[in-house]
């Protein structure tokens, strides 16, 4: 094919191809059951394995009774606050925790591209109470730990978290 000289220059690449910039949208949030095992604290192995299994680190929060969702920076920086004795029963702590969790989801859920939550043990009813009827319920992906008979429940949870985060960060 003969291309006229005037057009040949136009067809010659003059600059590297422009790649679309990655969108800087809101990051997803990851809610983990703080203190459920000794390894589930910021900086510890299991916490970091869950927090870093996606394409990039999401905003990570710990679910703490009775405070609801606390950012991992707060969990790291304010041990005096976490150690403070609140003097309420476990039942009250769960009720107040679910109320604060619900308020957090309704207020701050929209600031994330989606929420991935890992719940297990005593947190299951707390989470259920917090999420039922929330306008953000459809944006939350729940990862439940499989039954104890499964050999590696946290390996399963990590794969599930990674899959959900990948979809949210696409």
């Amino acid at each position: 094919m003969n291309i006229p000289a005037a057009f040949r220059d136009l067809l010659r690449p003059t600059a590297p191809p422009v790649r679309p910039r990655p969108r800087k949208g809101p990051r997803p949030g990851l809610l983990l059951p703080y203190g459920l095992t000794s390894d589930l604290e910021p900086g510890r192995e299991l916490w970091e394995a869950l927090a870093t299994c996606g394409p990039s680190r999401p905003k990570v929060y710990g679910i703490v009774m009775p405070w609801g969702a606390l950012h991992e920076d707060v969990l790291n920086r304010h041990p005096a606050f976490l150690a403070s004795s609140v003097g309420i029963s476990d039942r009250e702590a769960r009720l107040h925790g679910s109320a604060r969790l619900r308020a957090w989801i309704d207020t701050f859920g929209g600031q994330h591209s989606g929420l991935v939550t890992v719940v297990a043990g005593p947190l299951v009813p707390v989470w259920n109470r917090a999420i039922v009827g929330s306008p953000y319920a459809s944006r939350v992906k729940l990862v439940s730990l499989p039954k104890r008979s499964r050999a590696e429940p946290w390996g399963y949870a990590r794969r599930q978290v990674a899959a959900h985060l990948s979809r949210m960060q696409r």
């Binding site: 707060v74 304010h78 679910s98 619900r102 308020a103 701050f108």
Partner: protein, 131 residues
């Protein structure tokens, strides 16, 4: 916060802070971003009060302590009197407060920012101030 149940208050009237002080709610200040409960700190044991909290406003870079989203606490000196009482501001943002009010009524919370939360936030702030 029109959605709040009448039985759910924003802040407790009085918060006992052990032998250090008791905090008495003097007024609730509504603002654009939420509500502020203004507390006067009355010493219970002067020596404990002096050693634990008197220097707090001088010891912290940022007096606002907000570990639980939507709420915060701040301790201030009296601007008019040198040796006057310390004051404590407890804040509740309007968006979070509105969301919490609905959930709190179902959970039996007497106040949206209960006394135990104020005590815990003050403990945390004292920890930040090294006191």
């Amino acid at each position: 916060m029109s959605g709040a149940s009448p039985s759910v208050k924003l802040f407790p009237e009085k918060v006992e802070l052990g032998s250090m002080a008791s905090a008495v709610l003097t007024k609730v200040i509504p603002g654009k971003r939420g509500f502020v409960g203004l507390y006067r700190l009355d010493p219970v044991d002067e020596s404990v009060y002096d050693s634990r909290i008197r220097d707090l406003p001088l010891n912290v870079d940022s007096p606002r302590f907000a570990p639980v989203p939507g709420t915060w606490l701040e301790v201030l000196e009296d601007e008019e009197e040198d040796d006057g009482p310390l004051w404590m501001k407890v804040g509740l943002s309007s968006n979070y407060g509105r969301a919490l009010a609905g959930a709190a009524a179902r959970s039996g919370m007497g106040e949206l920012v209960p006394a135990y939360q104020i005590r815990a936030m003050l403990d945390g702030l004292l920890g930040v101030g090294g006191l």
